[in-house]
């Protein structure tokens, strides 16, 4: 069977299996799966307000997904998106609070700060991998916790006076819609960040598919030894890839800092966006355009889930279970592939 066809079929089957498993769990726990999924759909798209919120949620998911996918394409596994996102969030809010400038300077500055902070957080595992051959998975996990504790410390002592959140950012650094625009989605928190996210989708596609550097990065991911032999610097490309990946993740943080919330607060645990980004990238087949679809699905699931307890009594965590199972099925795509091949062979006979 054609590989391209398979790349679309496997995620679809994985999603289907995840949804079916979710239905079974609801049945076993005494809920109606029909009501459950109906309330999920209504919560994601039922009203303009909900649709706005869904798109808002999709925004950081796209960027987190791009971050994971970019690293994946270059042969690296960036589990550190969560940490890079948190430092990006903090950096953007910091710039948003500390400075005062006209909007056309202030806002880009805040966004760039987030990308730089995320990039720096990605540089460290990239550097260690290139220099000392340390596996990036473990380093990025450790960097996540360091990011969590360090940003909490900064929020508590530097950016506020022992409070658990920072001041609101200045309007000149905000991504929020104007009043008239907010009205369109019934005052949801939808903001301009979605344009930045879509622009980044284009940037990633262009960078990887249309430039020499992108070819080099992909080639290193494909076969390090061959790339080395062809005269490419593997180490430089590993570092560059982690920095770009981290920058995408940092931007995802700025979506929360400058768009959704407008401040940064002490966190007792992770936001989860970075980890969901892994699922988004996997579902999207690690392509820029695929990430949009992955983000769409997970954004709708997450926002729709909030409506489930009210309308059908199903706890929101059901959606987390479904998402985890989808990742599981995508990861085990060998099983799905084996199944498809058996079926298609039988038909061929």
């Amino acid at each position: 069977m054609a590989k391209r066809y398979m790349n679309i079929l496997i995620p679809l089957i994985a999603v289907l299996l995840g949804v079916i498993a979710g239905a079974i769990i609801m049945l076993v726990s005494g809920y109606s799966p029909v009501d459950g999924y109906a309330s999920l759909w209504n919560g994601a798209f039922g009203e303009l307000y909900y649709t706005g919120e869904t798109i808002r949620q999709i925004t950081p998911y796209i960027l987190a997904g791009l971050a994971v996918a970019f690293a994946f394409r270059t042969g690296l596994f960036n589990i550190g998106v969560e940490g890079q996102l948190i430092v990006g969030w903090l950096a953007s809010v910091w710039v948003g609070v500390a400075f005062d400038a006209p909007k056309f300077i202030h806002l880009p500055l805040a966004v760039i700060a987030a990308a730089l902070a995320g990039g720096l957080w990605g540089f460290i595992p990239g550097f260690l991998k290139a220099k000392f051959r340390v596996h990036e998975v473990i380093v990025t996990i450790m960097m996540n916790y360091i990011a969590l504790h360090v940003t909490n410390y900064f929020i508590r002592t530097v950016l506020s006076d022992h409070s658990d959140k920072t001041d609101k950012i200045h309007d000149s650094a905000s991504l929020a819609f104007s009043d008239a625009m907010q009205q369109m989605t019934d005052y949801s928190r939808l903001h301009w960040g979605i344009l930045i996210a879509l622009a980044c989708v284009f940037i990633m596609w262009f960078l990887l598919e249309k430039t020499t550097k992108g070819y080099e990065l992909r080639s290193v991911g494909f076969n390090q030894h061959a790339s080395e032999y062809a005269g490419m610097s593997v180490n430089k490309n590993i570092i560059l890839s982690m920095v770009i990946s981290g920058a995408f993740a940092g931007l995802a943080g700025s979506m929360e800092g400058l768009g959704t919330f407008g401040y940064a607060s002490i966190k007792s645990g992770f936001t989860g966006i970075g980890f969901d980004g892994i699922a988004v990238a996997l579902l999207g087949g690690n392509t820029a355009v695929g990430v949009i679809f992955g983000a769409l699905l997970f954004g709708a699931l997450k926002v729709g889930a909030l409506n489930m307890p009210m309308e059908s009594g199903v706890p929101t965590e059901l959606v987390d279970i479904v998402i985890a199972l989808i990742i599981f099925f995508v990861a085990s795509s060998y099983m799905i592939r084996w199944f498809i091949e058996r079926i298609s062979k039988k038909e061929g006979k």
Binding site: I25, S29, F77, I79, I124, L128, K131, F132, V134, H135, V137, I138, V139, I141, M142, M143, Y145, I146, H149, V150, N152, Y153, T157, S268, G269, F275, I278, L282, P315, E317, L318, V319, D320, I321, I323, A324, L325, I327, F328, V330, A331, S332, S333, Y334, M335
Partner: protein, 319 residues
């Protein structure tokens, strides 16, 4: 406050925080020695913590004071079964072991919170009444000086963990089973040629890791948090994984690292009441274990060699 007094505050507290890490890291040793990466330790701990708390709350009246030990047993069994998911995906279905582990973590948190809401109708369980409490270990705590530092105001689980670490070391390095387990993680094809069932050994490795991580989670829940909610096991599994790597995949090394991490964790909590440390911002103590792990990995504390076949699925007949 004299030095002995300070030690008698820090040491028991360090032992308390180290116990869950030791159990979980030992579990990780079984899985990774067999060649299967287990990032899912965190999720397995979550399952253990959840099971032990629910068991403890449910059977507290019938079983009385011994309920906490039975709860640990239940946590062990349930987490062992849960680990089967990771085993099936990463061994039989050749899934990317890291991705599968991430899925295990997400699934564990989602599933347990779902069940907590289903059973108790709220996001967090009640506090358990029969938790592991501070004890003075008989006889040993009467030893002058040392007894007061190590064996007074401490927990049985800490010493249980240390004993298990020595047992695990013996199993992995001194028994035929351990040799087979290690050979499967180093060179599965050679092991296969010698008639060792690679798939079976790896399944066993992952399931033992589930069992021990389940105990780790149970110990954490029943001695430190006393209830179960979304933030109960916040990164403990990853810390245990770090301890395993820091300890170079050696059970005793992992135990040493876990004791050190426990020490670091307890400092960030009891540090405020101690002279000298009260002026150091707690953030340094909080991030110390993670920074040290990175430094260890970068080779500043001595090179760590992972099992050679770690992370690669074994496909029979393929070179």
């Amino acid at each position: 406050m004299d030095f002995i007094q300070i030690l008698s505050i820090i040491v028991p507290s360090a032992l308390l925080f180290a116990a869950p890490l030791i159990f979980t890291a030992l579990g990780g040793a079984f899985s990774e020695r067999s060649g299967v990466v287990n990032i899912g330790l965190e999720g397995l701990m979550v399952i253990g913590a959840f099971t032990s708390i629910v068991f403890n709350l449910t059977f507290s009246d019938q079983l009385g004071g011994s309920v906490k030990w039975f709860a640990l047993l239940a946590a062990m069994i349930v987490a062992c079964i849960f680990a089967l998911l990771h085993a099936v995906a990463s061994i039989s279905f050749r899934a990317d072991q890291v991705v599968s582990g991430v899925a295990i973590n997400l699934l564990a948190v989602g599933l347990t919170l779902f069940l907590v809401k289903l059973i108790y109708g709220k996001g967090q369980t009640d506090m358990i009444q029969n938790a592991f409490r501070k004890v003075d270990i008989p006889v040993l705590s009467d030893i002058p000086v040392i007894g007061k530092i190590f064996f007074a105001n401490t927990y049985y689980t800490s010493f249980f963990a240390i004993i298990v670490a020595f047992i695990v070391w013996f199993i992995i390095f001194k028994t035929p089973f351990g040799l087979r387990l290690r050979s499967v993680g180093e060179h599965p094809m050679a092991a296969d040629t010698m008639g060792i069932n690679v798939t079976k050994m790896r399944y066993i490795g992952v399931m033992i890791s589930g069992a021990l991580a389940g105990i780790g989670g149970g110990v954490y829940a029943e001695s430190i948090s006393s209830d179960f909610g979304h933030a109960t096991i916040n990164g403990q599994g990853f810390m245990a994984l770090a301890a395993l790597i820091f300890g170079k995949w050696n059970p005793l090394g992992a135990m040493g690292a876990a004791l050190f991490f426990g020490f670091a964790q307890s400092l960030s909590i009891v540090g405020k009441s101690l002279p000298l440390l009260e002026n150091i911002p707690s953030v340094y103590l909080l991030i110390a274990p993670y920074v040290l792990t990175i430094l260890a990995l970068a080779g500043f504390i001595g090179r760590a060699d992972a099992p050679k076949a770690l992370g690669t699925p074994y496909v029979k007949g393929k070179r």
